[in-house]
Amino acid sequence: MKLTKRDFIMGLLIILSGCLLYFFTTKDAFLYKQPILRITHVKNGETKGTVDEFKNHDQQTNQIITGKILNGKNKDKSFKVRNTYTLSKGMDQKFYVGQQVFVNVYQKEGKKTISISHYKRDTYLLMLCWLILMLLFIVMRSNGLRSIVSVILNFILFLIVVQLDVMWNITSFFWIYAISAIIFTALTLILVIGWNKQCLVTFAAIFFGTTTALLITVTAMWLTKDKGMHYEALDFATQAPKQLFLSASVIGLLGTVMDAATDIVSTLFELKRSQPKIHFKQLFNSGRQVGKKIMGPLINVLLLIFFAETFTLAVLYFRTGNSFGYTFEWTMSLGMVQAIISGIGITLVIPSASLLAAAALGGRDR
């Protein structure tokens, strides 16, 4: 690969845009309604050792933070506030000079005091988004940016669906998510594949795989009477937990099933294009071959994602004297079941996608 003058200018532009974004996000306090404090001085107090009932040793430190408000009514006013952090930093953090934090301002007996609300993180989130866009552009050129469009569209749709769920507030809200899952699928497939026969075949396969996997799951739950399923352990649940769990499973399931189905169907369509005389049986077998190869790694993707989310909580459970079994049941089992349901969906979509694609392509030549 030779570096041309154009590449050089491109590189310069990319770096420049990154610097600009960084500079902007560190100075964007005027966009927020909530007051932001910029830390100008930190005085660390004495460090105290702590021991809890499980003999876990930790340390606790007080800091006195001085800073200036950057926006709003109290702009440029100086405030002092106390912060306590532990060595493990489970729910607190150590502050340094130069950091920005969101604060709440209180009026108390004619004097204004503040409390720390949360840390300002938008710089890091947006820089990471910038990094993805730039990497996509460098590795894939403009095609790469297109593949992110469907993700963004799905995200917007997803937020709308959540909004509908909260607004309507119906008892069987599972159906809202089930129907929106169908819309997600159709939208993504049309964007990625285009409106044609291949898209229809893929859609049919995904629909079959997802519905059957869900039916199997619900039947298994009914037969085993939900034994060992602690739906109440679901984080942040504000609605009927079992339905919430099933809705979440459908959405998670959809992504992987879609992945597997598109892989298989597009390979078979490609095969038919390069070898027009290929038979139904050969097509079906090739589809299953592809499926065999991707099944294991795909189920692994979800296993790792779901498991990683439980790391922090599981460590906390173990450190506070809970047994392996209890910790597993209360922190990991729901995520595991979600991964298993997706696995069932993947195994079901392999034969159904192979069969449907083979029938659509090879049926006539038999």
Binding site: K89, Y124, L223, L298
Partner: protein, 254 residues
């Protein structure tokens, strides 16, 4: 029998029924990976440095995912090498950002779940978060690495005289297809995993600014963003390594 056992049995049966011996291998690799992850958590809770343990178990997980079910041919080796390279790069990227963004441990929204606990338990929650983040990207990069390397190998076999620049282009094409779908898997996985959180945040009428800054939302989003970055990198690294391999082979044959 618990619901989970019955579902696991169904999964094992279906894997065997649809893919025969391969299915059994895949199931065993899932069980091994699960055990490795569980042991990792236990060791971290026992006080072993989190990032070190995760690095080693990460390499084991990659080896198991890539080599089990795939015969040990040269393109499999390349996939493995590429995933390890990307894992190291990801570690170098994640450590400073995670330290700056401070998304470790628990957030205010978690408080109901953890109010019974004293959080000063003497572990490094930041290192735990970093380990969890690195491990969560491994599944996606292993999948993409296998797909790119075997796809390119197929092309090399069908057309042994292919130009290096054409091969690079094919790598980009294959990569793009994989990427679009992997992004969907990752994002749907995140929507699914965090559905309850999204509903809660909506009910709390969180402002846009809160989404951009809150620990829980930034943390969950970053998890998916890291995985996406890792997938883009693995596509590039794998196809470059395949091109490099072909170029070296040709030089040898001349």
């Amino acid at each position: 029998m618990t619901t989970m056992t019955s579902l696991t049995l169904i999964l094992a049966l279906l894997m065997f029924a649809t893919s025969g011996r391969n299915g059994v291998y895949s199931f065993i690799s899932l069980v091994i990976n699960f055990s490795l992850l569980f042991i990792t958590v236990v060791l971290i809770a026992g006080g072993v440095p989190a990032i070190g343990v995760s690095f080693f178990s990460g390499i084991c997980i990659l080896a198991i995912t890539i080599y089990m079910g795939n015969s040990g041919e040269s393109e499999t080796d390349i996939a493995f090498l590429a995933t390890i390279l990307v894992m190291i790069v990801m570690l170098l990227l994640i450590v400073p950002i995670e330290h700056a963004a401070q998304i470790q441990g628990f957030s205010n929204e978690d408080s109901e779940e953890i109010e019974a606990f004293n959080l000063a338990v003497g572990v490094n929650f930041e290192a735990i978060m970093i380990s969890a983040t690195v491990l969560s990207t491994l599944g996606a990069i292993a999948e993409a690495a296998i797909a790119v390397s075997s796809g390119l190998q197929e092309i090399i076999e069908q057309k042994p005289e292919i130009e290096l620049s054409d091969l690079r282009k094919s790598g980009r094409n294959i990569g793009q297809q994989i990427m679009g779908m992997t992004f969907n898997t990752l994002f749907f996985g995140m929507f699914g995993g965090n559905l309850a959180l999204f509903i809660l945040l909506y009910k709390l009428q969180a402002s846009f600014g809160y989404y951009l800054n809150s620990k829980i939302f930034v943390g969950e989003t970053m998890l998916v963003l890291y995985a996406s970055i890792a997938v883009i990198m693995i596509i590039w690294v794998t196809s470059e390594l395949m091109v490099h391999k072909l170029a070296r082979q040709r030089k040898k044959n001349k």
